[in-house]
């Protein structure tokens, strides 16, 4: 049962959130100039890292804000969080 620090609400139990997938995949800034390969990569290719991973979570039963979370997949440690359009501390 993770404790996730929402940038707006503070530390909340994971039951208030839904997982939103890999946050290293960013929707193309200029979709018209995006190649098939880039689309393919954006839609289908996902790393499955053993260790640190940046992912989206949605505080769906809270403030309804999306956030970026850096989580260690081996320990479940939440290392840092940020708003969805913000930058994570390294």
């Amino acid at each position: 049962m993770l404790l996730i620090k929402c940038p707006w609400c503070g530390e909340r139990d994971m039951v208030e959130f839904t997982h939103g997938g890999d946050a290293t995949k960013v929707y193309p800034k200029d979709p018209n100039a995006t190649t098939s390969e880039e689309w393919h990569d954006f839609i289908y290719l996902r790393e499955n890292p053993c260790g640190e991973h940046v992912e989206y979570w949605h505080h769906v039963a809270g403030c309804r804000q999306w956030l970026k979370v850096r989580r260690d997949t081996t320990t479940h440690d939440i290392l840092t969080t940020a708003p969805a359009d913000g930058d994570l501390d390294t």
């Binding site: 839904t18 939103g20 689309w39 708003p83 969805a84």
Partner: protein, 973 residues
């Protein structure tokens, strides 16, 4: 006290002034408050409490706590019957009914005891091997095995008790209320920390209740009472007894179950039976103690074989003599406390067998001084007795003559295992301490610390602070896991009593190559019982280590997993049972539907009127009648469940442009438009109408199923992808009641209720406007049609939904207004060829759905680039078509496969499948929508809709999916 021949005159924390009556296998017995079921049974001279799982061997009470592998009983009867309850932790109450398990027809005569003789057919890995044999052999054995195995019988009735769950937070959570836990809790409480203390037993004290110890010269329990009383009175301390911490999860979350009313004869209806706690602690102190380990010697499972610590527990805590003539088998000094307590209680101790060669400790010498022979370097090689032990055969470990000792109790101690389960569950590592002969907690991964016996610190000096216990020096333990059979003998040496796993099974697993401890566990089922191997895991892996010629650290241990002790399903479910299993969403007109004979259908969490019954009608005839009312005049349907998302801001139209395939910038204020959105991979996702209420204000509708996901998606794009867009979105589904009013007379009815001119000129098809409806302010009117008829949708604030519904029925009475449910609504949409969930199934593109023309070429939208991938624009892709039965009457089954020849030898080429079916009231025959390869190119072809599960094949003709009013003239009049 004649009824309790084994009850001692004095001692124990029981109330002899009060007698409790209970039944075991129908036999009425008596005990006292403070007893467990096990102690009361022993007081009545009953050691034999069950049959073993696999061999049906008679088994007795082995321990005095949660580690009990044998004394599993069924408690209570009827709807409260509960199997696999531990007699050793079940508090006795007046009227308790218990019965033994794994026996038929009764405990003393068990039909399957012959299975003991068949044991060569039930070796380790039996289930695996049987499954790997030819399958038909398994079928032969299954009946026999299922009957012989099994662990008690649960009630088939629903549980009448209430369970609840609670959350709590604290600075310090102390698990365990023995000397170490109480000391830690008091230390934390004294500096003002918010403390929670959990104790699984009914009372604090731990082993201090079970031994005659002193602290500061007084009985140790005086200290326990003083500290626990003081703790209970402190404002920021919560003490919970009868509460077992069973799981340690991420981020210092501990789950515990509090048995609020398991021990009371008649439950208080205002209290739950059990309470599940989820506790988030800043720091966790694990003072979970240690569990005594046995030694696996031949024939070690007879009733009357008991852990040494349990024997003195029955004397000291419960005032029960577990035997009158005892033998002790040990490898440590500590177990001699049991010999001393047995002697003090008036029992004989005929011999102590100690595997150590030189025994000269403080406690052994006390025993020796009282005339008890201590046989050094000795071990048990055999035991005699069937329903109860009566003799022990012992032999020097180095070989030599066998000695025989009569006894009715054989105490065994192989040392102590710190309860590192929670530490391990939390991610902490454990290390084997060769000197102490046990696993100890090492590096913690979370903010927790193990103390006292749980950390392998077994003296009071290690547990107490500011008080002094009566520790005595002890000689070193000699780690010992199993003892050999005498030459030529093959007595079973049980490692795991509950799963009937023997040392020989471990050896067999080793021979067959199952040498990893995780594999050993699964292959032999070692440690997989409800006791989680608390008295067997270490022995099992020690035996494996020896066979491999390795030491224990090299072999390692299996991962400890929750739950530490068994937890009832009721506690897990809590209040989420029956109607509360999941929330039920009701439309604002729910009561009316219920009162007017509607049959419900689930739509996600919602319930929606499926149809309204009249005498003699089934779903089809009711839906047909409801549909005809609409086609002929006017009908109303509750569409409140459709998702409604309020979208506001200067960039609202831009957002819609990026979400929907079609364009939105030019949509005029006061107009609605049908829109389709795609997933990022180009597949169709959801559809609905969205209306422009003002320049910067739209109201979007979604399907009922996707209301939540679409909102979450919009939030995602606005927050993560396009934060520059000045738009806010909000779900307003629950804020509005929505009613569709359909049929040629709908305008007549609506006009009488509304403050707008809704003539076709003033309010044409796809118009939208705020209005006052039936006196209800804040309403919104949309001229949209799902039915294909002239139709309107009216939204009113949710609290006025019933008023609006009533007004429509009242005003429309002279026009014969009717109500219809979603079965009729679904038939309308199939007649019109409108796609819905069965067609927008995640595998279809807008082209497949016949909606390709909506795609705007002027802009980008989500999914657009990927929707034009080669495979998604292949003309051979299945596309939506209509189907009619060639005979004009046979129903086509939803899910049926479309084939050219159903009788062709397999594999038969599947051309598509039937998605939606209905009976068309307009055409008077069944119709269907299907996804068919080649789509409308096949119009006019005849195929078969094959349903092999029912051996049916209906001859169908491919037609346009627009069965009724294909040009949409009716809704535009």
């Amino acid at each position: 006290m004649t009824g309790q021949p084994w009850r001692l005159e004095n001692g124990g924390h029981i109330d002899r002034s009060c007698s409790l009556s209970f039944a075991f296998d129908g036999k009425i017995m008596e005990g006292h408050p403070g007893d467990t079921l096990a102690s009361a049974l022993l007081a009545n001279g009953t050691h034999l409490v069950g049959r073993s799982f696999k061999y049906h061997r008679p088994r007795g009470i082995f321990s005095a706590g949660v580690e009990e592998p044998n004394a599993l009983v069924e408690l209570r009867t009827g709807n409260r019957q509960e199997p696999n309850s531990l007699a050793t932790t079940t508090e006795l109450f007046d009227g308790l009914e218990a019965s033994s398990q794994n026996r038929w027809p009764n405990l003393r005569f068990d039909f399957s005891q012959a299975n003991g003789a068949l044991s060569r057919f039930l070796p380790a890995g039996f289930y695996y091997k049987t499954f790997m044999w030819p399958a038909n052999l398994w079928l032969t054995y299954e009946h026999f095995i299922r009957k012989a195995a099994g662990m008690g019988i649960a009630s088939r009735e629903s549980d009448p008790d209430r369970y609840e769950s609670r959350s709590a937070h604290c600075d310090v959570l102390v698990v365990g209320g023995g000397p170490a836990g109480l000391t830690a809790a008091m230390t934390a409480a004294e500096i003002g920390e918010r403390v929670i203390v959990l104790e699984q037993a009914p009372h604090f004290g731990g082993w201090l209740r079970r031994e005659k110890r002193t602290i500061d010269g007084s009985p140790a329990m005086d200290w326990v009472d003083a500290v626990s009383t003081r703790l209970s009175a402190m404002a920021d301390v919560r003490v919970l007894t009868r509460t077992s911490a069973f799981g340690y999860y991420d981020h210092n979350m501990i789950t515990a179950v509090e048995r609020v009313q398991d021990h009371v004869p008649k439950s208080d209806p205002f209290l739950p039976r059990q309470r599940l706690w989820s506790i988030r602690a800043k720091r966790v102190v694990l003072a979970t103690g240690a569990v005594e380990q046995p030694i696996a010697f031949p024939e070690n499972d007879r009733p009357g074989v008991m852990l040494a610590g349990a024997a003195r527990t029955y004397i000291n805590e419960y005032g029960v003599l577990p035997g009158r003539m005892a033998v002790l088998q040990t490898n440590n000094d500590n177990a001699y406390r049991s010999a001393i307590d047995l002697l003090d209680a008036g029992a004989r101790v005929t011999a102590v067998l100690d595997v150590r060669d030189h025994v000269d400790g403080h406690l052994p010498n006390q025993v020796r001084d009282r005339g008890v022979p201590i046989l050094q370097g000795y071990g048990v090689v055999e035991t005699k007795g069937y329903f109860a032990i009566r003799q022990v055969l012992a032999r020097p470990l180095v070989g030599g003559p066998v000695r025989r000792y009569d006894c009715d109790l054989l105490c065994v101690s192989g040392g102590w295992a710190p309860q590192v389960h929670l530490h391990s569950q939390s991610g902490g590592k454990v290390v084997f301490d060769a000197e102490k002969g046990c696993f100890l907690p090492s590096e913690a991964r979370q903010n927790c610390v193990s103390i006292g016996s749980a950390a392998g610190l077994f003296t009071l000096k290690d547990c107490l602070k500011g008080a002094n216990g009566d520790d005595v020096p002890e000689q070193a333990i000699k780690p010992t896991w199993s003892l050999p059979n005498a030459p030529g003998r093959h007595g079973k040496r049980f490692v795991d009593f509950q799963d009937d796993v023997t040392a020989e099974d471990v050896a067999l697993a080793h021979r067959e190559g199952y040498v990893s401890v995780e594999h050993l566990k699964r292959y032999t089922t070692l440690g997989m019982g409800t006791d989680q191997g608390k008295t067997s895991n270490v022995i099992g892996l020690a035996i494996m280590a020896k066979l491999k010629g390795q030491n224990i650290p090299a072999v390692g241990t299996t991962k400890f997993r929750p739950p530490y002790t068994a937890v009832s399903m009721g506690a897990m479910a809590g209040r989420a049972v029956g109607h509360h299993f999941q929330p039920l969403r009701r439309s604002p007109m729910d009561n009316w539907h219920h009162d007017n004979g509607c049959k419900w259908v689930d739509a996600g969490l919602w319930r929606r009127p499926h149809f309204y019954t009249r005498p003699g009608e089934d779903v089809n005839s009711a839906a047909l009648r409801e549909g005809r009312t609409v086609r002929a005049g006017v009908g109303i349907v509750d569409v409140s469940t459709l998702g409604k998302i309020d979208i506001q801001g200067p960039d609202a139209a831009e957002l819609l442009n990026r979400i929907y395939v079609n364009g939105w910038k030019k949509l005029a204020v006061g107009k609605a438009r049908y829109g389709v959105m795609l997933r990022e991979d180009g597949m169709a996702y959801d559809d609905g109408t969205t209306s422009r209420l003002s320049e910067n204000h739209f109201i979007m509708t979604t399907t009922t199923a996707n209301a939540g996901p679409v909102l979450a998606k919009l939030e995602y794009y606005l927050q993560a992808v396009w934060p520059e867009l000045r738009v806010q979105v909000a779900c307003v589904t629950d804020q509005y009641a929505a009613i569709a009013v359909a049929g040629p007379k709908s305008r007549d009815v609506m006009q009488r209720l509304i403050d707008l001119d809704i003539s076709n000129d003033a309010f044409p098809f796809m118009a939208a406007a705020p209005c006052c409806f039936a006196g209800i302010a804040g309403a919104r009117l949309f001229r949209i049609s799902f039915s294909g008829e002239l139709a309107y949708e009216i939204n009113v604030p949710a609290d006025y939904g019933q008023a609006a519904w009533n007004a429509l029925l009242e005003t429309g009475r002279e026009d014969g207004v009717g109500v219809y449910g979603i079965e009729a609504m679904s038939a309308f949409r199939i007649e019109k060829g409108h796609v819905a969930g069965p067609e927008i199934n995640g595998q279809t593109t807008i082209g497949d759905l016949g909606l390709g023309g909506l795609q705007s070429e002027q802009k980008h939208n989500i999914g657009k680039s990927l929707a034009i991938r080669e495979g998604l624009i292949d003309p051979a892709r299945p596309a939506v078509v209509g189907l009619v039965p060639v005979d004009g009457k046979t129903w086509i089954k939803a899910g049926a496969q479309l084939v050219e020849n159903p009788d062709a030898p397999p594999p038969v080429a599947m051309l598509g499948h039937v998605t939606s079916i209905a009976y068309s009231g307009e055409l008077n025959h069944p119709i269907a929508l299907a996804l068919l390869s080649g789509g409308k190119e096949r119009a006019g072809e005849e195929l078969y809709a094959a349903f092999p599960l029912r051996n049916e094949a209906v001859r169908v003709r491919v037609v346009s999916p627009h069965f009724v009013d294909p040009d949409g003239e009716r809704m535009r009049v």
